[in-house]
């Protein structure tokens, strides 16, 4: 029995997205990786074709779809061999802040652009000295009449350069409680005092830009505060379940793709007259990895179903994020071993897969933080 069932609308969406990726993304993946950037136009094409933010209310241009659409987008994007067009970060992580906590005016102003690809978003929480310890952030937001003055620096911001709109977490220095001091703000690119830094040079995710963001007496209208003053940390916590689930899906589909490619490689590669898959040790390795991948998919699909039903699955999504992203790394490492020296060449797609998988165990809360959260919610 399938844990998740798909309607004709889902299937049609998947088929159209599959065709879109084959025509508009996959052929350009290598170029985008080499350029260390995705053309802004690619985001627009994806939005215009209806594949960004499928969860957004139709009143703002979305499909009003459930989280199964997120799973479909993740699965299809994993086939494209690039990570730069981070649709799931935009659609499933950042834009939901605006959908859930934005005022009517904010939603009317920003959501249609987020859906059609005119607005690419980023979320800025991490700082040089506040990574795992998010509440240690020092970027300040001082509300002054009907404006807010922002000062500070954020780092490791995905889409940091390409973004048009940033969901920014910052603290009110006058508030002592380090959690209640934090509010969220919408900051548009181009606002005076908001500067994007250099592209950070990474091990993987080459087509995606990661950057530092700098705020120096950056004034934004008070109307750009997202939600209540001082509710920032609670809003972040409320949305982290979906962010972690999105990462868990990402880890799982990465593991699936790497294993699928390697299995095909071992079928077609003949060494000393015998296909690699006829070697018992190779067979067992592939079977063991396939088993783990199936266990991962079963768990993740169950969580997607629970999440769609509105379940509180903080512990399980933390477990799934750490386990599936570790799985992606484990599978990538082992698959490379099976290839021997050919596994050292970048022309083998799983080399990029291995480089790209490594950050998954770190971003959106390191896997150590996932275990810390699970321990806390398990009452340990």
């Amino acid at each position: 029995m399938n844990i998740l069932t798909y309607t004709a609308e889902h299937e049609d969406f998947r088929r159209r997205l599959h065709e879109f990726c084959a025509a508009e993304i996959t052929p350009f993946a290598d170029r985008w990786e080499a350029d260390h950037a995705v053309p802004r136009e690619a985001w627009r094409r994806m939005g215009r074709a209806g594949f960004l933010c499928p969860g957004v209310d139709p009143a703002y241009g979305g499909l009003g779809g459930d989280f199964r659409y997120a799973l479909i987008v993740n699965e299809e994007m994993a086939r494209t061999g690039q990570t730069g067009l981070t649709a799931s970060l935009h659609s499933d992580v950042v834009v939901p802040y605006i959908e859930s906590f934005g005022s009517k005016a904010q939603k009317r102003k920003y959501l249609p652009g987020c859906v059609n690809g005119d607005i690419v978003t980023a979320v800025a929480m991490t700082e040089p000295d506040a990574g795992s310890d998010l509440a240690a952030m020092t970027t300040t937001a001082v509300e002054d009449g009907d404006t807010v003055v922002i000062n500070g620096a954020k780092t490791f911001i995905s889409n940091g350069l390409v973004c048009d709109l940033v969901v920014l977490a910052a603290r009110d220095p006058a508030v002592e409680d380090r959690y209640r001091a934090i509010s969220l703000y919408l900051v548009e690119a181009g606002t005076p005092g908001f500067n994007k830094g250099q592209r950070l040079d990474k091990m993987g995710w080459h087509s995606q830009d990661t950057a530092e963001l700098f705020f120096t007496d950056c004034r934004i209208p008070l109307a750009n505060r997202l939600g209540e003053r001082g509710a920032g940390f609670l809003m972040l916590m409320a949305k982290l379940q979906q962010e972690r689930l999105t990462c868990a899906v990402g880890g799982m589909v990465a593991a699936e793709r790497i294993l699928q490619w390697t299995t095909e490689y071992c079928r077609r590669t003949v060494v000393d007259g015998r296909p690699l898959v006829k070697n018992q040790a190779v067979q067992f390795a592939l079977v063991e990895m396939a088993t783990e991948v199936k266990i991962g998919r079963t768990f993740v699909e169950k969580l997607v179903a629970d999440h769609i039903e509105g379940g509180q699955i903080v512990v399980e999504t933390s477990m799934a994020k750490y386990w599936t992203t570790d799985l992606a790394n484990r599978v990538a490492n082992r698959c490379l071993e099976l290839m021997g020296p050919a596994g050292n060449l970048e022309r083998a797609p799983i080399v990029r897969g291995l480089r790209d998988a490594r950050i998954m165990a770190i971003f959106a809360g390191t896997n150590e933080i996932m275990k810390q959260i699970a321990a806390k919610f398990m009452g340990l």
Binding site: T126, D129, G131, S132, D133, A136, T155, F156, L200, D201, K202, M203, G204, T269, V270, V271, D272, A281, V282, N329, N333, L336, E337, L338, M339, G340, P341, A342, G343, N344, L345, E346, R347, V351, L354, R355, R358, I359, A361, I362, F363, T366, N367, E368
Partner: protein, 380 residues
């Protein structure tokens, strides 16, 4: 426990002093990024006698043993994984000439290599053949010597090479089939070197496909005994794997040291992250693995110098040290959090170098084949 002699400790000190003076992180990162051999650093290493320190002094070697070569490799690679490996690998192949060559060949070819005046490239591995299997390349005898044809893969140092070493099938004697012989080939017309492109690791020495097309070899280009190429290959792998294990040990040590330095200074949740129980256990596990690998590798090298090494000892050394290097670099990335994924922090480079090394001259599966067959022994 192996007690290092004063001379061996001097090798360590000389290597450390050299690397501290000559290895620059920016240079290493840039050379690794563009795939450039660090010629100046290598020339200074060669001037100090670091190339072929385990080979006879009569041919400009260091006149020391493999344990000294391992200590040198470990020390250099701990201080910089990429530059250290490039220096160690630059003379790779000289050992074949020293072990199998005639007096005349040694006198003619070794001094230029060991003095850094010319480079040698080892072209043994073929696509579709196991790394210890009989080659498809052929050397057909005629009245003037041999005519060499064939294609080799994963050849490092190929662009710089003045001579190539290769393995080709030669006609068997009356009682054997599938005999192979080793040859020294001058870089000249008839040799096509095609860059295999960017690699996961080992980019300073590069990788190429090398095709020998009707290359004429005079009788003095036969290396070792005719028809004994595969036996020589096994002897070569024994020494090669212990040397690579020394490099892997250095990668492991270097990654561990970087992880320790980071957890000693990084503060999260108002504490040094080195104070957390899990961090301590992670570091403890790595320290245990690195120490176990060190003993295994030193033991193998000492056995080699005593004339008691075998294929099993060498394979165990490389397997153990490469896995320790991968584990140490992987955990070093994780402990660095987002910084670990940035090229600037170098641990991702250690991870890529460690993975690449583990696939060279015997991937883990090949090494397990060797060890398993040796431990279980011949079955009736």
């Amino acid at each position: 426990m192996i007690q290092l002699t004063r001379a061996q400790k001097q090798v360590q000190k000389a290597a450390r002093d050299f690397a501290k003076g000559e290895f620059d992180r920016e240079t290493a990162r840039e050379a690794e990024k563009i795939g450039q051999f660090p010629e100046e650093v290598f020339q200074r290493a060669a001037a100090l006698g670091f190339v072929g320190i385990q080979l006879p002094e009569a041919y400009s070697g260091g006149g020391m043993g493999l344990l000294e070569a391992v200590l040198l490799a470990e020390t250099l690679c701990a201080l910089d994984g990429s530059l250290g490996q490039a220096v160690c690998e630059a003379g790779h192949g000289a050992e074949c000439i020293a072990r199998f060559g005639s007096q005349d060949q040694k006198e003619r070819f070794l001094p230029p290599i060991l003095e850094g005046r010319t480079a040698v490239a080892v072209a043994f591995v073929e696509a579709g053949r196991g790394i210890s299997s009989a080659p498809a390349a052929t050397a057909a005898p005629d009245d003037k010597g041999w005519l060499l044809n064939g294609t080799k893969h994963f050849v490092s140092n190929a662009e710089r090479a003045g001579i190539f070493l290769t393995l080709a099938a030669t006609p068997a004697g009356a009682d054997e089939t599938g005999a192979a012989s080793m040859f020294i080939v001058d870089a000249a017309a008839g040799i096509r070197v095609t860059d295999e492109g960017r690699r996961l690791g080992g980019n300073l020495t590069g990788g190429a496909e090398v095709t020998f097309d009707e290359v004429r070899l005079t009788p003095d280009r036969l290396l070792g005994k005719p028809g004994r190429g595969l036996a020589q290959l096994e002897a070569y792998y024994m020494e090669r794997r212990i040397l690579l294990a020394g490099q892997a040990l250095g990668l492991a040590q270097g990654a561990l040291e970087r992880a320790v330095a980071y957890v000693r200074q990084r503060v999260q949740f108002s504490r040094k992250i080195g104070a957390f129980a899990v961090t301590r256990h992670k570091i403890a596990d790595l320290a245990a693995r690195v120490e176990a690998a060190r003993l295994t590798v030193y033991q193998a090298a000492a056995a080699f110098d005593a004339g008691q090494a075998d294929a099993r000892t060498a394979a165990i050394a490389k397997l153990t040290a490469a896995e320790a290097a991968i584990a140490a670099a992987d955990e070093a990335i994780q402990l660095h959090g987002g910084y670990g994924y940035m090229r600037e922090y170098d641990v991702e480079r250690y991870y890529r170098e460690a993975k690449a090394l583990s696939l060279t001259a015997g991937a883990p599966g090949d090494l397990r084949d060797v060890v398993g067959a040796s431990v279980i022994g011949k079955l009736k």
